[in-house]
């Protein structure tokens, strides 16, 4: 009999209100391999790893987790750490103003009884750093290290806890090429020392380079597990398995009446995130015509939201350069206020975080971005406000008991409609929709699509950012694909396929 696999996850199902994130997913990792986990955004990768690492404890999902053939009941992150599982997230979990050695032994300090033994700590840290081939002093502040080096510190931290299974969630997304290569070869070296790794990645090339096995997730289900040593893994196979979904006709048809008039044109847009110290947009050029829906496809972190924000007055203070033309006129937009006046509107992907004011009511949210339109000498005309809110409630069919209902009490779909209403009230020429149907049910999705169709038929232009490829193909007239802050392709929807888009989105 073969020894049991190191890790086995059987028939895992996890539901969130209104969404099934994982649907009978299974996942099996053998000792001493590098196992890659791939899938589109929202396929369930992160949820699966959160279950494995104890973020979602035993009892909040159904299915079994087995380590070395034994059923485990993790009640929290502490349990999984004890079992030898370490997870390294995209957002690093180091304390920036502590030294490398303090960070590595944070939570499991080496002590002599009551006091910390710093000498031993530093010596051990030096060993760990050697193991991950990181040549920095143990007493450097983490803050002073590059992201790539911080990642290595995280791995060293995991190794200091006698890790058996190392999980890395998109470890290379923030790294440059040299750093990525260094990290991947480190994983291979750790493999020879008996450390098993699970690598979640969007970059298929690196998956193909390092994987012993690849599991593909789609819509919360395990599609297939491929063995690299039998030659089963190739880019085409992976893409086909990742997207392989039928586009059903949940997308209402519309009469396309696109004129040749370019409404929005962006030339040579570059942006840098001052906090991360990284370029987030590199030489982006695109245009949108009147009456057109232009889809922006790409994987998480490809820079689509940053692109939208850079155009929309740059509210979060990126360092932006480039030219922006609206109806042929050059604009330099330094605040959303100017962007709104210039005819732009931005419906945020994060309606609860920065789209809506949840503690305020429906009418106050709808009028917020254009209060002056219903004000006379700075005094808000409440009657007009009520009328405006009622009009949008009717035209967008917002289901709420009253326009004085607080937005936090509405369903996701109706919140999204309030968000859209708010931005329609500024009467934009170009409406930017960032993930317009995220987290809302199918019925509400269809209604949002109908609204979009009506708007472009009336001559508005829409820039739609979406991570759902069927939505991109179902709604757009034209598609731009982004990867790592660059536009990597432009496709006419008639010629676009999910496979082609995925190819462009995984170019690095």
């Amino acid at each position: 009999m073969n020894p049991p696999p190191l890790l086995e996850m059987r028939q895992i199902t996890k539901e969130f209100p209104g969404v099934v994130a994982l649907d009978n997913a299974s996942f099996q990792v053998n000792k001493g391999e590098i196992h890659c986990l791939v899938g589109e955004n929202g396929a369930g990768k992160s949820t699966l790893m959160k279950i494995l690492s104890g973020v979602y404890p035993y009892g909040t999902f159904s299915g079994d987790i087995l380590l070395d053939g034994e059923v485990q009941r993790f009640r929290g992150i502490g349990d999984t750490e004890k079992a030898g599982i370490a997870i390294i997230y995209q957002e690093l979990a180091l304390v920036p103003h502590m030294t490398v050695y303090e960070n590595i032994f944070l939570g499991h300090e080496i002590t002599n009884g009551l006091t910390v033994n710093w000498y031993e700590t530093i010596r051990e840290t030096a060993d760990m750093l050697k193991k991950v081939r990181l040549d920095v002093s143990p007493s450097m502040l983490v803050n002073d290290l590059s992201v790539g080096k911080q990642q290595l510190v995280e791995i060293a931290k995991a190794l200091s806890k006698d890790v058996r299974l190392l999980i890395l969630d998109e470890p290379t997304s923030a790294l440059n090429e040299d750093e990525s290569e260094n990290l991947l070869s480190l994983l291979q070296e750790l493999k020879t020392q008996g450390v098993t790794s699970v690598l979640i990645s969007h970059k298929l090339k690196e998956v193909i380079a390092v994987a012993d096995a690849v599991t593909v997730l789609r819509d919360g289900k395990t599609v297939v597990t491929l063995n690299a040593h039998k030659g089963e893994v190739s880019e085409n196979v992976l893409i086909r398995n990742m997207v392989g979904r039928e586009i059903n006709n949940i997308y209402p048809s519309r009469t396309h009446r696109i004129s040749d008039e370019i409404v929005l044109e962006v030339k040579g847009l570059n942006a840098r995130h001052p906090g991360l110290g990284r370029d987030i947009l590199k030489d982006v050029n695109f245009n949108i015509k009147r009456g057109e829906i232009v889809g922006f496809a790409g994987l998480m972190g490809s820079g689509r939201t940053e692109l939208a924000l850079s155009i929309f007055g740059n509210p979060f203070g990126f360092q932006v350069s480039g030219d922006l033309y609206i109806e042929g006129q050059a604009h330099s937009l330094r605040h959303p206020e100017q962007a709104i006046r210039a005819g732009l509107a931005y419906v945020s992907e994060d309606r609860k975080g920065n789209g809506l004011i949840l503690i305020q009511d429906v009418k106050e949210n709808i009028t917020l971005a254009n209060l002056r339109a219903i004000a006379h000498r700075w005094v808000v005309n409440r009657n007009e406000e009520v009328q405006v809110a009622r009009e949008y409630r009717q035209s967008l069919d917002i289901k709420t008991p009253s326009i004085e209902q607080r937005v936090m009490n509405l369903s996701g779909g109706n919140q999204q409609k309030v968000s859209v209403a708010k931005w329609l009230f500024v009467k934009p020429k170009i409406l930017i929709l960032d993930e317009p149907t995220r987290g809302i049910d199918v019925g509400a999705k269809f209604e949002i699509y109908m609204i979009m169709n009506r708007l472009v038929e009336e001559g508005m232009s829409i820039m739609m950012i979406s991570s759902e490829l069927p939505e991109i193909l179902g709604m757009s007239d034209r598609v731009y694909v982004m990867s790592s802050g660059r536009l990597t392709g432009e496709l006419i929807t008639a010629q676009a396929t999910q496979e082609r888009i995925m190819e462009l989105a995984t170019i690095h």
């Binding site: 004011i357 305020q360 971005a369 209060l371 004000a375 607080r406």
Partner: protein
């Protein structure tokens, strides 16, 4: 029975809005009982309202500062310092009151803008920026009063702000001992209020918005009429409306109007409710922050004027602990530390609660040590109440 059930339902649904009124009512009732009615006497109520003035105006400004998720610790000593400057301007520089008052208010605005600059522009946490202000203004008071000590203000017009009363209508001889103009103003205010309530109710009904049921609506009007009428009667029985009360009512009225009716007010609450969403909606969070701190500074100056005028002098310790009283008034008045929630009218009630406690306990002869503890307990209870009821009202 269904009437009582209705009352209970309306109360429990609006407990956040009515809670502090009930608290104020209970506190006043208790003190009236324990002091054999001295507390509710015309003289005491009139005094109490005058004492509330300088805290109430600070509370109003502080409410907005807390609504946008900041705090201002500097307001107490800023008020004290500007009060001293006013005294010096009148006594040493011999400037007329008509010049001194606008000058002091302007200086307050300027001081507020400096805090605003540190917070909005330089991103210094408000707690630290205004703590620095606290220290600086404390030093400034000591500096300007170093050579003189307490400065006595001999100006009668200035002192009337904190001690004087509005004149009565001349020539009326009936009802001696009753202030007729005060009664008349109270009556006019009540009538305006009624008309406005009925109009807004009709309008809401025409838009099919939710309103109180007719019996509850009448009950509300009856209660408010009783309270406003009662206070008016009590005041009219002493010297009538004091200038302090007039000033406070004007300030509260103005701020109530700005916060509920204007674009600026709506922007302030939007910034408090969700700064990122506000920024993305084209509202400059920076500009709103400047405006709110500038208003706070102006009101600090007004508070300083009210206090100096009430004492008829500028002292070296003027303004001590005002900032904490103002913050307490704002919280008792229902402002939420999470931002975006809180009414300026609440701050007025909150200030009344805090001063009622002081006044009532003074009348009862309770020592200062116990007074602090009672006030602390009331503040904690108010915030507990806020936290406990926050989730219920979805």
């Amino acid at each position: 029975m269904s009437f009582m059930a209705n009352v209970r339902k309306v109360l429990s649904e609006n407990i956040r809005d009515y809670g502090m009124f009930i608290a104020l009512f209970v506190i006043m009732a208790i003190f009236t009982f324990t002091t054999n009615g001295i507390f509710i006497s015309s003289r005491n109520i009139s005094n109490l309202l005058n004492q509330t003035g300088y805290i109430a105006v600070l509370g109003v400004g502080m409410t907005l500062v807390i609504v946008i998720r900041h705090i201002d610790l500097s307001v107490g000593f800023l008020a004290g310092f500007l009060g001293a400057v006013a005294a010096i301007a009148m006594v040493s520089w011999k400037l007329p009151v008509g010049v001194v008052l606008p000058m002091i208010l302007l200086l307050g605005t300027l001081a507020g803008l400096i805090s605003g600059f540190l917070v909005a522009q330089m991103k210094v946490p408000a707690f630290v920026a205004t703590l620095a202000g606290w220290l600086i203004y404390r030093g400034a008071i000591l500096l300007v009063t170093e050579s003189t000590g307490t400065i006595i203000i001999p100006n009668r017009d200035f002192n009337a702000i904190g001690n004087g009363f509005i004149p009565d209508i001349p020539g009326l001889t009936f009802w001696p001992g009753v202030h007729k103009l005060t009664l008349l103003l109270g009556l006019i205010a009540l009538m305006l209020f009624m008309v406005n309530e009925f109009r807004s109710r009709r309008k809401k009904l025409s838009y099919e918005l939710e309103v109180l049921s007719m019996d509850m609506f009448i009950l509300k009007l009856v209660i408010i009429t009783a309270v406003v009428g009662g206070i008016t009667w009590v005041l009219a029985g002493y010297n009538g409306l004091s200038w302090t009360v007039v000033i406070v009512l004007v300030v509260v009225g103005l701020y109530h109007f700005v916060t509920t009716q204007t674009v600026l007010g709506r922007h302030i609450y939007a910034v408090g409710g969700n700064p990122e969403a506000a920024e993305l909606s084209g509202i400059s969070v920076k500009r709103i922050t400047y405006a709110v701190f500038a208003s706070m500074g102006t009101l600090s100056a007004l508070s300083g004027i009210l206090f100096a005028s009430r004492l008829q002098s500028a002292t070296t310790t003027a303004g001590t602990l005002f900032e904490l009283d103002a913050i307490a008034a704002a919280f008792v008045g229902g402002v939420s530390a999470a931002g975006g929630v809180g009414k300026v009218t609440g701050a007025l009630i909150g200030a009344l609660v805090m001063t009622s406690l002081t006044s009532g306990m003074n009348l009862m002869g309770i020592g200062i040590s116990s007074q602090y503890m009672v006030r602390g307990a009331v503040l904690a209870a108010a915030v507990l109440f806020d936290v406990a009821t926050r989730n219920r009202q979805g």
